[in-house]
């Protein structure tokens, strides 16, 4: 019941972001479980959208669609965003804990799937000339999500607008660096593994 209430609170947050995010943090109106639910719903929305949007608006090649790509891209982006944001804000006097960051990120994604799910159905009822509506709504969903992310960060970390924008920029750079280090790490591990394997083979075949 508690979980359902936290889910329902998502709808309040997207219309009253400052109030809502404050309550998420201070009044514990939200939960990490609900936040994960919203992230999973976003992934689910992407999967359905890629396959089931009407032909007129669907530029995806069905043979090449891979569910794993959606899962990894959204999931990885969320993880990177949260980690990078947490690392930076701990240094920059942010008040949010890791839990708060995960919650505000998840709750910010609500408009994305809330708008785009009905759009999948709507795409089957409109012609290409009326496609403007489709694209406008898509754009609105992204802008709304973006605005919520900013507002969430502002409220959660008690930042000014200027500092929020600056931190967002740094967070994105941080994500890139994390990605780079991650790839580097995997590459090095791979090299070491090959090296060890080669030595093992050499020793065995002697």
């Amino acid at each position: 019941m508690q979980y359902l209430r936290t889910l329902k609170y998502g709808f309040y947050v997207i219309f009253h972001p400052f109030d809502g995010f404050w309550d998420l943090k201070k009044e514990h109106r939200g939960s990490v479980a609900a936040s994960f639910t919203f992230i999973v719903l976003t992934i689910f929305m992407l999967v359905v959208q890629k396959q089931n949007t009407a032909f007129l608006f669907n530029m995806n090649r069905l043979e090449t669609i891979d569910v794993m790509v959606d899962i990894v891209s959204v999931g990885l982006m969320c993880i990177l965003w949260c980690v990078s944001n947490w690392c930076l804000t701990s240094l920059m006097d942010g008040e949010g804990k890791m839990r708060d960051i995960i919650i505000f990120t998840g709750y910010s994604l609500v408009p994305l799937w809330l708008i785009q799910f009905p759009l999948i159905g709507m795409s089957h009822m409109i012609t290409a000339e009326e496609g403007t509506f489709y694209y406008v709504f898509t754009t609105i969903s992204y802008l709304w999500t973006g605005a919520l992310l900013l507002a969430g960060m502002m409220v959660t970390h008690q930042y000014s607008v200027k500092k929020t924008l600056f931190t967002t920029l740094l967070t994105i750079i941080g994500m890139a660096i994390l990605l780079f280090i991650g790839l580097l790490f995997f590459s090095v591990i791979q090299q070491i593994a090959t090296f060890v394997m080669t030595i093992y083979k050499e020793v065995r075949f002697r």
Partner: protein, 500 residues
């Protein structure tokens, strides 16, 4: 007895005829072809398809006189092939089997002996007048149908070309109104245009030079002198070949495009109207640049050297770099690509010119290195494909529909065929089927048209149902709202009464 024998003989005849229909005696076949036939689909990928043209024979005609030596131009008119044999300084006429009809190298001009020198272009008008781009002498010469000298058109008299500039005409065409267009080497202001009397009229269809803002800033403020020097070469491109169609539109190809030009979307082909404006339809899925490759593969860009067009708007372009022939329809959709470079029979070394027979049954490709003409014959698939487009162009929808079905039987990947059939369904009002075919043909442009009508029909047929549904929802919502209000009103009234 005699009678029955006769009958038996007749039967044999019929059987033999049937057999020859089933197993035609021609030697060409798809599985011995040294090249693949393909086209580009909506995704920009090359998709194999049945061959539209098969290699037939090589017309090298060594038997009569000297071999062609570095020939530069091929022209086909009324079943006669005219070749501009550059290094032998002559024009050669061949029949379609490759036998020589006549050759023309020297002639009597106004009482004096004269001769051609390295001609690179030849054109024959409807009346049989022969125009030769006499490159070595810097002039265009006109001959009568029996090869008598009529006139020559020399260097255009204009201040736009300086005295030091060479005038080397390489290709010449004459349109239905008698206007003469010449491509001259080193002149990058477009085609040189003469009127029917040989008076210089001006330049036509000049390629515009557009320098982007970024390029301008980069060049003027951020480049070293060495870089600047390399970049000086931003000059308009020259046309490589021209072709005039039945309605006096001039098709022109451009060959010397760099990879950068291709990526920036430069035109490789133009269709010029008599005022010199490019009116080529570019509504296809891909740019009309020949093979589509990525930026890293610089050597693979196609380089167009000749073009030939049909009455119904399909055109064939010869690519010198890959030795291929590209066919596009009126809208610029890629129909098929065939040919290649190599030493096997049917492949080319250095193709320079192509000619199309009147009914598109044969394509002639002139190879300057081989010194011979390669012929390619149309297949049943090619006939169906081109026939469908022709029928559609002539407004014969029934025939076009039939031929598209035949195309689909042979090539289930043909997007143009799906779109063609979809168009027929759209006209017949079978919108749902039309939508299906447009989706298979990846045409969103036509799909949305069909969908619009389909939706309209659906709404009209089920208007009552939908309106009933909406009305029902509204009524239920109203009942709820009003019910709530009444309850509230009753409650308030009760409160008021009890409060008193």
């Amino acid at each position: 007895m005699k009678n029955s024998k006769k009958k038996f003989g007749k039967l044999l005849c019929v059987l033999a005829a049937a057999g020859s229909l089933l197993f035609p005696a021609s030697e060409v076949s798809a599985d011995t072809m040294p090249y693949d036939t393909y086209s580009y689909d909506w995704w920009g990928e090359d998709v194999l398809q049945p061959p539209a043209y098969l290699y037939a024979e090589e017309l090298s005609y060594i038997q009569s006189g000297t071999k062609l030596k570095n020939p530069q131009d091929l022209f086909l008119k009324h079943d006669t092939l005219y070749v501009a044999d550059m290094e032998n300084s002559r024009i050669v006429a061949l029949d379609t089997s490759g036998a020589m009809l006549w050759e023309l190298s020297s002639f009597t001009a106004d009482g004096a002996e004269d001769s051609l020198k390295s001609p690179q272009g030849v054109f024959v008008t409807e009346e049989g007048h022969i125009y030769v781009a006499d490159s070595g002498n810097g002039r265009v010469v006109e001959f009568s149908p029996n090869r008598e000298y009529i006139r020559q058109i020399g260097r255009p008299e204009t201040e736009l070309i300086t005295e030091s500039q060479n005038y080397v005409p390489t290709k010449v065409i004459v349109d239905g109104a008698g206007r003469i267009y010449v491509i001259a080497y080193g002149i990058n202001m477009g085609l040189v245009e003469f009127d029917r009397n040989g008076e210089f009229q001006g330049f036509m269809g000049a390629t515009q030079v557009s320098v982007s803002m970024f390029e301008y800033i980069w060049k003027n403020y951020f480049s070293t002198d060495a870089q600047k020097q390399r970049m000086e070469t931003i000059i308009p491109t020259e046309y490589s070949n021209i072709f005039v169609d039945k309605s006096n539109f001039v098709y022109a190809t451009i060959s010397n495009l760099s990879a950068e030009d291709h990526l920036n979307g430069a035109d490789a082909v133009r269709r010029l109207n008599p005022t010199g404006t490019d009116v080529l339809r570019r509504l296809g899925n891909t740019a009309i640049i020949g093979d589509l490759y990525n930026a890293t593969d610089e050597a693979a860009w196609s380089s167009f050297t000749d073009i030939a067009s049909t009455d119904y708007g399909c055109y064939f372009i010869l690519d010198n770099a890959g030795g291929k022939v590209f066919c596009y329809d009126y809208d610029g959709n890629s129909l098929f690509v065939f040919g290649g470079k190599g030493s096997r029979a049917g492949l080319v070394r250095n193709p320079v010119s192509l000619a199309l027979s009147e009914d598109q049954a044969k394509i002639y490709v002139l190879d300057s290195q081989l010194g011979s003409i390669l012929t390619y014959e149309i297949t049943e698939y090619g006939q169906a494909l081109l026939g469908a487009l022709k029928a559609h162009n002539e407004g014969n929808e029934a025939l076009s529909y039939e031929l598209w079905q035949e195309v689909l039987l042979r090539n289930a990947n043909s997007e143009v065929a799906y779109i063609g059939i979809g168009k027929t369904y759209l006209k017949e009002g079978r919108y749902k089927e039309a939508m299906e075919y447009f989706e298979l043909g990846n045409s969103r442009k036509y799909y949305t048209k069909a969908f619009k009508f389909y939706r309209k029909d659906l709404m009209q047929d089920n208007f009552g149902k939908y309106m009933g549904l909406i009305a029902g929802v509204v009524v239920i919502a109203l009942v709820f709202v009003v019910g709530k209000k009444i309850k509230r009103w009753v409650g308030e009234a009760k409160c008021n009464i009890s409060g008193r």
